[in-house]
């Protein structure tokens, strides 16, 4: 690990000013992601800006009317044990329960989770690749069992976040701050396919930081499911996951979001499946149609073919679980 300087930020303004002033810097909160990248020399920042020292940034606030504001350095464990999350956004609590390990959840933060880098073995190893500013993708012809089946750009690595799919399914947004000011965008728009000059899976600029995540009030009778497939029973990133949130009126599906995890560089909206479901009554037959639609257009590259089957089954199971609720 390269030697680095370390400062405690006292405010968000303070942190973003440091980001602006020192181009070779990185924010640190839980450190579960950043320190590993530094130890493996994937990134070597000169300055670490601690944002856990910012007053109030870990707070989770319910407005009493069904929406929730989560400070970006709230730990994943804190979020998972929040009563509002458990009551109103159970898919998020379910995702947290199977995310990483208790030790990691105690350290890792919500903002860090959304900004984490892909787990691609080549990116994390000593290979030059697109995400590191070089050309090409080693996973394409190499070991690609973990690679994406949707949203291919110049990089085939999937977004590993367990929190992103349920948050996108819940219609969450993020508040981003830079020295120029604050903005709020939908979390779905926060993620982007790496391409061209953008060597990242988010739109977050150099001097910007995630300040808050906001989850809106869900419609009446909204129900959700989160399912995750791993290589072992726990403490693993997803091979594929699905988060879905669905509301009905007179038995017809009104609002539906199906978000697939670990199969694209971003949390992937299964829009064809959503379209198939919208304004219809959920039936076994419709579930078959929608789960088939969820994998329409998938283009696996080799060892990741199983993900097509897996995603279809997960969507089918998720919808089936909602059939009688």
């Amino acid at each position: 690990m390269r030697a680095f300087d370390y400062v405690d930020a006292t405010s968000v303004e303070d942190a973003t000013t440091f980001l602006q002033d020192e181009a070779d810097s990185a924010l640190i909160a839980g450190g579960t992601e950043l320190l590993v990248l530094m130890k493996n020399k994937v990134i070597n920042p000169r300055l670490l800006i601690n944002v856990k020292s910012i007053d109030g940034l870990h707070r989770i606030r319910a407005d009493g009317e069904g929406s929730l504001t989560i400070g970006s350095v709230a730990t994943i464990a804190e979020l998972g044990s929040d009563e509002v999350v458990q009551r109103s956004f159970p898919i998020l609590a379910d995702a947290i329960r199977v995310a990483a390990s208790p030790q990691l959840r105690n350290m890792a933060t919500v903002g860090g989770n959304l900004c984490q880098k892909p787990r691609c073995w080549y990116y994390r190893g000593s290979f030059d690749c697109f995400l590191k500013g070089a050309r090409g993708c080693h996973a394409l012809n190499g070991q690609n069992r973990g690679s994406g089946i949707f949203g291919r750009s110049e990089c085939y690595a999937v977004n590993p976040s367990d929190l992103a799919p349920p948050l996108v399914a819940l219609g969450a947004s993020v508040v981003i701050q830079s020295p120029q000011g604050r903005k709020q965008i939908s979390l779905a728009d926060f993620f982007t396919l790496p391409r061209g000059e953008l060597l990242n899976q988010t739109i977050l600029g150099r001097d910007e930081m995630v300040v808050e995540v906001r989850i809106p009030k869900q419609p009446h009778r909204s129900r959700g499911v989160f399912l995750k497939a791993m290589e072992r029973k726990t403490w693993s990133f997803a091979q594929a996951s699905v988060a879905m949130q669905l509301s009905r009126s007179d038995d017809r599906i009104e609002d539906v979001r199906i978000v697939l995890g670990a199969i694209a560089p971003i949390p992937w909206r299964a829009t064809a499946a959503e379209d198939a479901l919208r304004a219809r009554a959920l039936t076994r037959q419709l579930i078959e149609v929608a789960s088939a639609a969820a994998v329409e257009g998938a283009h696996p590259s080799g060892d990741n073919r199983y993900k097509v089957t897996l995603v279809r089954e997960l969507v089918k199971r998720g919808l089936s679980a909602l059939l009688n609720t």
């Binding site: 690990m1 190893g125 290979f127 069992r145 029973k233 199983y306 089957t309 089954e313």
Partner: protein
């Protein structure tokens, strides 16, 4: 009078003849009816409290004033010539005390014709240079300041590619160890056997490179006391390290002392001196400071060894009634850049079943992958997976009960040499296991939606008889306590506990009144490597003989003091009792009377019995649940029945069974080192991407022990328990997966990907008329072969 005899010692499937010096006065074996107080009963682990409270001194805990830290610069390339190494910049870094490369290290031969620091690097992770510095961090920083120029060479990581004549050569002498013929064994007439078969099955099996992942890496601390080297190291063989390091450094044996008091496992990967120990010793000499070397998990996974990945082509001929007529195995083991050919992949095919016509051709092939090392029952775990998968396939194909097929081919005598077994309760293990597992009820299809439940079984055969040389010394202190001193090591299995129990039993002392010393070549006499499941059957009899000798001396003194004949005396719980006349005296009273005149008992392991084959046996039954839509496999239960002869301590033997099965589940379902074919480098040398089982992956493990002394094998009647429990696990799980889902995965690990691919193939097959549709109907078994 001692005499010299020849004795046969089995080690990891290989038979070696050894000279043994034995004393004529042999200790008679404890009989099955012998009433024993301490042996055979659960005894808490000696040092257990220290281990779980952090009080045990492992190698990493050794702290010496002035100690430096060593880090090793390793090759980033799978194959290259080192053209130059510039260490000038590294030398100037503040806190760097010494840098070692081929330029300033003695030319020490290592692994055949190569050197400690060789001009050629043969895998990603090969040692190029080493730095000793004030801290680990400085040493690590210094590594980046060493500038190495390489000439890249063509490399090969696939063993079948490496066998081709035009493949890049890993070593000058060629890639196939022992020449292109391989290691051939043959009995009977193979072609005749196949000709007389009603069915011939032919399959390809693959097993993966699994990393040992010892909790404690290959670490050491080297310190010079004048011209004597003291080496704390994590090893399975303190004496082996002493001999290897002494040879490398040109030192006489009495100038090297090796210490390993507590150890965090080896699983076969720490059987002798390693480069790291010699490097630490050289840097300690150069800097005149103690040097500690502690590899990272990444280094450990790159260079610490892996189980040989294998490719196995197995052909089996059977008669209609299930009798095996011919078995032909061609196995290829990828030993990486510096592995050895010790992996007996053909062992199970040669010796598990009564089959007259057998041929095994074992190939051990060098590649530019990280080196293979013996790993808990090397060869047998891999070979058993292929053989027992094949047996299962044959059984289903002939509509036979898989267990019945095994009994049809049961070998009463050792099929290799025709020798009788010292004991072979395998049939009993089958029966007991079948009963515990509910084998006869398995035919009832169990389906819960997409989840299918299945039961599979596999057999275990392995050595574990141990043998000489192995020694122990017992000294009685004046207060009636005793010091048991051996040169063995407790690699985490509970050796100390078991040996204390044996000494206490024979000596008649309480176990807590005996202190055991292990892992110090200065203190204890020679002891063999803790590998090949041989520690207890080698050391146990030596300890018992030493205890017997001390007891006899003690009793002859007691008889003089008590004025009774020694023959009428016995010792229990530290009390010496005379039957006629009825008298008692405490051991401590006797020892106190003689004061500092010490009773010293010396014991040696006697020779192995001639003309009998000593083997351990067992059977495991695995129950799994397969989700045929998502490919999830859950092991829900494993039943294990093993024969290790007499059980000294049911707690420690139970731990061996549970540990073996846990490791077996990892091997069966998830563990695999990936080497990138394009770059020849390792992709998952960490514990995030390389998956080992978590506690949630571990099912209920039920085990039973035959626990019958094998009276002809040695004086304690015990055989080794370390390796047998991992041997059948993967095969049993693979067979259970077939029973559950109707898919046979012949390549380990059995991942979701492979399950879904196989189920996808099933779906493509036309549905037989009159049967319910579905990917894996219980009764629709594909017929193969």
């Amino acid at each position: 009078m001692p005499k010299i005899v020849r004795t046969r010692v089995e080690f990891e499937g290989e038979v070696r003849e050894r000279m043994a010096v034995v004393v004529e006065d042999q200790v008679l074996p404890w009989s099955a009816r012998e009433k024993l107080d301490i042996v055979g009963r659960p005894h808490p682990r000696v040092g257990g409290r220290q281990i779980v409270t952090g009080g045990a001194t492992y190698t990493a805990d050794v702290q010496i004033p002035g100690m430096l830290h060593c880090k090793i610069r390793r090759s980033p390339l799978p194959h290259a010539e080192v053209l130059s190494i510039d260490t000038a910049e590294a030398q100037t870094l503040f806190g760097v005390r010494g840098v070692l490369t081929h330029a300033n290290a003695p030319r020490i031969r290592w692994f055949g014709n190569s050197f400690l620091f060789d001009r050629f690097v043969r895998f990603e992770g090969d040692e190029v240079a080493a730095v000793a510095a004030d801290s680990e961090e400085i040493a690590e920083d210094a590594l980046d300041l060493i500038h190495v120029r390489y000439r890249e060479l063509p490399f090969v990581v696939d063993p079948e590619q490496a066998m081709k004549p035009d493949a890049p050569r890993v070593h000058k002498e060629g890639n196939v160890i022992g020449g292109p013929e391989g290691d051939v064994y043959e009995r009977g007439n193979l072609e005749e056997g196949f000709a007389r078969s009603n069915h011939v099955f032919s399959e390809r099996y693959e097993t993966q490179a699994a990393v040992h992942n010892c909790l404690e890496p290959h670490c050491c601390v080297a310190m010079w006391n004048g011209d004597e080297l003291v080496l704390w190291t994590s090893t399975q063989h303190a004496y082996g390290v002493r001999d290897g390091v002494a040879a490398a450094l040109g030192l006489p044996l009495h100038k090297v002392r090796v210490i390993c008091e507590f150890m965090g496992a080896g699983f076969g990967s720490k059987q002798g001196a390693g480069k790291h120990e010699v490097i630490a010793a050289l840097l300690a000499k150069m800097t005149e400071r103690p040097v500690r070397l502690y590899p990272s998990r990444r280094e450990e996974n790159l260079a610490g060894g892996v189980r040989h990945p294998t490719i196995q082509y197995l052909r089996a001929g059977v008669r209609r009634d299930g009798k095996l007529m011919a078995l032909h195995l061609r196995s290829i083991a990828n030993v990486g850049a510096y592995g050895t050919d010790s992996s007996e992949v053909g062992g199970p095919v040669r010796e598990l079943y009564d089959c007259a016509n057998v041929r095994t051709e074992q190939f051990a092939v060098y590649t530019n992958a990280g080196p293979a090392a013996a790993f808990r029952a090397p060869g047998y775990v891999e070979g058993m997976f292929a053989l027992e998968s094949m047996m299962d396939q044959i059984a289903y194909s002939l509509s036979m009960d898989p267990l019945q097929l095994r009994l049809v081919n049961y070998a009463r005598k050792d099929p290799v040499r025709g020798a009788t077994y010292s004991s072979k309760p395998l049939d009993e293990a089958y029966r007991t296991g079948a009963k515990m597992a509910g084998w006869n009820l398995r035919a009832k299809a169990q389906q819960m939606g997409a989840r299918r439940r299945g039961l599979g079984m596999a057999s275990q055969i392995w050595g574990g008889g141990g043998g000489p040389p192995a020694y122990a010394i017992i000294r009685l202190n004046s207060d009636g306590t005793a010091d048991l001193v051996t040169g063995t090591q407790d690699i985490g299995t509970g050796t100390k506990t078991v040996l204390v129990q044996i000494a206490a039993e024979e000596l008649g002392l309480k176990a807590e009144d005996i202190r055991i010393t292990v892992g110090d070549t200065l203190a204890g006499p020679y002891a063999p490597v803790s590998a090949g499941s041989m520690t207890v059957p080698s050391m146990g009899p030596a300890v018992r003989a030493a205890a017997k000798s001390a007891r006899e001396e003690l009793l002859s003194l007691a008889s003089a003091l008590m004025q009774v004949s020694a023959a009428s005396l016995s010792i229990r719980n530290g009390i010496i009792t005379s039957t006629t006349p009825s008298k008692t005296v405490a051991v401590s009273d006797v020892t106190r009377r003689i004061g500092d005149f010490m009773i010293v008992g010396k014991g040696a392991r006697g020779p192995n019995p001639p003309n009998v084959k000593v083997r351990t046996f067992g059977a495991q039954f695995a129950e799994v649940e397969v989700d045929v839509e998502t490919g999830d496999v859950t092991v829900t239960r494993v039943v294990a029945v093993h024969d290790f002869g007499r059980i000294i301590n049911p707690l420690t033997s139970g731990s061996q069974i549970e540990g073996g099965i846990v490791q077996g589940i990892g091997f069966a379902l998830m563990e695999e080192r990936f080497v990138d074919p394009e770059s020849g480098t390792s992709l998952n040398a960490n514990l995030e991407a390389y998956k080992i089982p978590t506690i949630l992956d571990i099912p209920i493990i039920e085990h039973a022990l035959i626990d019958r002394p094998d009276e002809s094998c040695n004086s304690i009647g015990s055989k080794g328990a370390g390796e047998p429990p991992i041997i059948p696990t993967a095969a049993a799980i693979a067979n259970a997966v077939y029973d559950a889902a109707g898919v046979r995965v012949r390549s380990l690990p059995i991942t979701r990907e492979k399950i879904l691919v196989e189920i996808g193939k099933l779906k493509l097959q036309p549905k037989p008329a009159g049967e319910a549709p579905g990917p894996a109907q219980k009764r629709r078994r594909p017929r193969r072969g």
